[in-house]
Amino acid sequence: MRDWASWALDTAVARGATYADVRLLDARSRNLSTKNGTVGTVSESESLGLGIRVIADGAWGFAATDQLTREQISETAARAVAIARASARVKKKDVVLAPEQKITAVWKTPIEKDPFDVPLDALVDLLLRADQEMRRVAGVTLAEGSMAFARQEQLFLSTQGSEIRQTRLSSGAGLVATSFAEGEIQKCSYPNSFGGQHACAGYELIEGLQLVENAGRIAEEAVALHQAEQCPQGRRTIILGSSQLALQIHESIGHPIELDRVLGTEANFAGMSFLTLDQLGQLKYGSDIVNVVADARLEHGPGLGTFGYDDEGVPAQCIDIIKDGRFVGYLSSRETAPVIGLPRSGGTMRAESWNRIPLIRMTNVSLLPGTWSLDALLADTDDALYFETNRSWSIDDRRYHFQFGTEIAWEIKAGKKTRMLKNPSYSGITTEFWNSCDAICGRRHWTLWGTPNCGKGQPMQTMGTGHGAAPARFRNVLVGVAYAQ
């Protein structure tokens, strides 16, 4: 397989590329779902192909193929160079890359149990047992479960001499109980909505989730929501559960710090960012207790943004994003880093597969834990709403004005979690919101959540990102607008 990658590089250089890198990727995935006691989806997929990215005449070109013959690979590399030359017809200046060391390395996601070795009937059986527990609860009209596993074995070669072999493996699972009654659909998910929890881990992740043990509880909550009071409207203190806070981080910190957005290259589709270059080091993004990092290293945990090297061959790093509330760092690439005077890339370029170019993607963008225990935080709160598990999310194209809905909320009165509330929502302005944070729970309550479905780029690429969060409190937040009349 190394020969295939070398042929591509050799052809690109022979055709005039001044830089080239090749990713040869062998991907395998397995997806399962169950619905109301029956198997929904069972599918296995494998995909092997090669993508070559080149700079020629000072501009980018990329071509990809799954026909791995010498002739086809050479033709693909030649096409990438021709495409780069076409790009050069519309350019203002040549592409300049930040320097990077030559690397020879092998890296693998550490796992305890390979999910592809677990018999399929055992996976189906687990989901069906959880399904049965949900349907035991009267009023549940739809019980769903899902699991997803993916392995990507990649060889990266570049004209700078790097040769990196990397194997990344991810696992994930989740449940949803839905109840239709009285002209209303309510649902509750476990451990998170939109696919559950995902991580760069093996089957041990699924075993630790206790799906069957939690199935009945979410089913009961989904049914109970019909009788709950509507979330009120107005300005309130709110506490966000950790999975909802993880998505809040993703949308209102993770995306606006992407330097390609900031520099305008996503302007036509995903949009730009309110974090213009003059804000770096100046903007008070959040309150003094808000500390956020983008950490792709294994030490941070097995997040979907954990890897050894990014898809430009840059080692995984920990980048400070918000330090003591101040905005101090962007997510960068070899092309964007020099634009803002950084000596090297932050190592955040990732591609969905062999047929896509790497883009700046969130790694594990996490809010570092605070000092509170959850019990102490609740006891310290007189009157608030506690929001749990995302139901809807929307933010403007500069990532400044957001609105979130969650599946369920609870009223906090005099330090105690009291009545359940349905159809909860809150909205705000990114910097006002993060500056209103006055308490963050500690490491014991901190979870590194996986967001498996982050879309970006054209052609669209879906990427997994990680977000560590513990429950946190925010003051004077607008709630209930989604259902305002």
Binding site: F62, A64, T65, S87, L142, G264, F269, A482
Partner: protein, 442 residues
Amino acid sequence: MLSEARCREIFDTVRRFGGEETEVFLEATRSALTRFANNTIHQNVAEEALHVSVRALVEGRTARATTNKTDEASLRRAAERALASARLQPRNPDLLPLPEPQSYFPVERFCEQTAGLTPDTRAEAVARVVKRADESGLVAAGIFSNTAVTQALLNSRGLFAFHTETRGEFSVTFLNGGSGWAKGNFTRAAHLDVEALAARACEKALANREPREIPPGRYTVILEPAAVLDLVGFLFYDFAATAVLDKRSCFTNRMGQKVFGDNISIYDDVYHPLQSGAPWDGEGIPRQAVQLVDHGDLCNLVYARHTARKMNALPTGHGLLLPNEYGEAPLNLVFAGGDTSLDEMIRTTERGILVTRLWYIREVDPYEKILTGMTRDGTFLVENGRVHHAVRNLRFNQSLKEMLNQVELLGPAVRAAGEESFEMVIPPMRVANFHFTEVTKY
């Protein structure tokens, strides 16, 4: 590209290693996309890809395995994985045997010119757009893409379905102070007018400078086709019979009822001249044109074979590839239009908001179909029959059910392209009492 003969060869190889009942879906794609921003082409990509997806059926059980290789070992592995996965499952009482051979109404959707667009051709078009941006003191960003795709579905009962088509997209945003956007998609390259799209986006960007803040509230809105598309696109799974069976559709318990205003009629029609896609579904059943809403009355759903049997209906040819948990979906929605032009809508509006496009739309409430999202790239106050000035972007929380009961005027339906939904045939609309709940700071 894949020929019919090659599809049959691949199927025959899979069949040797598969079970008694085997289905193969093949898709070969050749696509390219030129992306520009800051008046520079900054990404420029091309790919060739093939998927061979094998479905095995064994005594009421089914599973799928996919590969992107056509050598014997890879096809054998896919066939055996599908078979092994199927055997390990509990029996599904709703699973039907493979369908017999079908006949299809032909659609012609392949254009050599679209398939043959080169990086140089695309770069020339982008260069013209950038020249316009430079001359206008603006910055341009966008894409120009073209794709040729071949799809085939074969099964062990002799069913053979084959389809080939081309499609392309051109999209542009002009920025500097304000922003303006336009997008078109096409089957035939001759139908693409880059200059017209660029002119429209440029005009909007220039008009969108210095937007003023207006208070949130209920406004009459004039929604351009892209804005309508991205809203009504959220309905498409609700028309699936499986969604109604599962009680997750907003049409649950509303069949036969008046759900929208008298002026709303909705079809699914793959044969419409402005539509795209294959004339068969995920099991190879011929797609039918189905009227879903007749002058506001919910009159039909779409059905896969197994859902039709459960609901005592006839399959409509809208099933998704099996196995899946969603059943079916109408992928070729057509909204009946009217005869009021966009200009006429503006001319007859005393006070309202003209919306170019919407962004980041998400469902807030699945049964009342409340959606939230933002305006983007050109939102204007209309007063006394003319566009008065640009306004800052607004967030809406609007029930789609309510909105489609408040449509005052409809324009001619066009093939619209947005960013939140696949393309449809959609008219512009003037809607009363559209609910904007918050305003942004830009």
